[in-house]
Symmetry: C2
Amino acid sequence: MPGSTQTPQAAKTAQAIERVDTRFLETLLGYNARRATLVIVEHFMRRMAPYDLRIVDFSVLSLIAHNPGVTSRQLCSTLGVLPPNLVAIIDLLEKRELIERQPHPSDRRANGLHLSPDGEVLLRQAEETATVLEDEAAARLSAAERKTLMRLLQKIYR
Amino acid sequence: MPGSTQTPQAAKTAQAIERVDTRFLETLLGYNARRATLVIVEHFMRRMAPYDLRIVDFSVLSLIAHNPGVTSRQLCSTLGVLPPNLVAIIDLLEKRELIERQPHPSDRRANGLHLSPDGEVLLRQAEETATVLEDEAAARLSAAERKTLMRLLQKIYR
DNA sequence: TATTGTTATACTCTATAACTATA
DNA sequence: TATAGTTATAGAGTATAACAATA
């Protein structure tokens, strides 16, 4: 333990810090939001490891499932991923045969993205896991508190 | 606009997506927390640019200010930064003469970190800016809502 | 002329192994 | 034997420039 050998009365100059005072940072919304996000992300990564899905992979699969035919460009602007960085993500999911690129009905530059049958199955399980995992991460919050929290967060980013 | 030339009645197969449906992702706490954090971080980076401080630099300076004599190791565990990655951060702040490494009173392996007079001045301004910037980022929230939001976020990570 | 998807590439952030001085 | 600080380095994530095909 740092400073655990310090005598309590040696407190004026050059004393060792027993416990770090984080009170100022904790008055900042950004600090609290980042810390909470890290906790949730940790839960997410652990629970999604069996599906070999990162957060971005899960988000992409989920958006394709709920928006069949969506384009890469639309995914980019929705998720805040830059186009060059989405290419590898899409390539990998297609190589795993979870999604398919299909010709876009009205724009020959673009691809419409669709889930494969395997992708449907995997995503259904992953979305279920995501819901369970969130209950875990927010275990100390009541249902009403969770609802309030989501509403307030949305007020910030919408 | 993607799909803006689509006729509304061509809706059954291979239709183009007009607007991406994010309703499922928005039921997830992790998604909302990440999106809100990104908004706040954006505000932060823009407002802290004049001080040439990243979030981690600001956090380190603030913790040193409120915990004079704190060690690198303590900063690492408080902020979730790995020791090798903190070295360059501390080096840079010391090169800018914002902080000083001083001998630790009871452990010759460690350094006690302290703000220089210049560091004190800069941090005072930066902390003030951080408070203002948060009011900006959370402009759509009342004071009571902000308080609630912080409390709920802390319930997740504490 | 602008946009979609893509390649190449650079930069930043995060993670791991191993070393030294000291506890 | 363990820990604080450090170096070197690898890997993941994020960014910009430029190109072909199409709008």
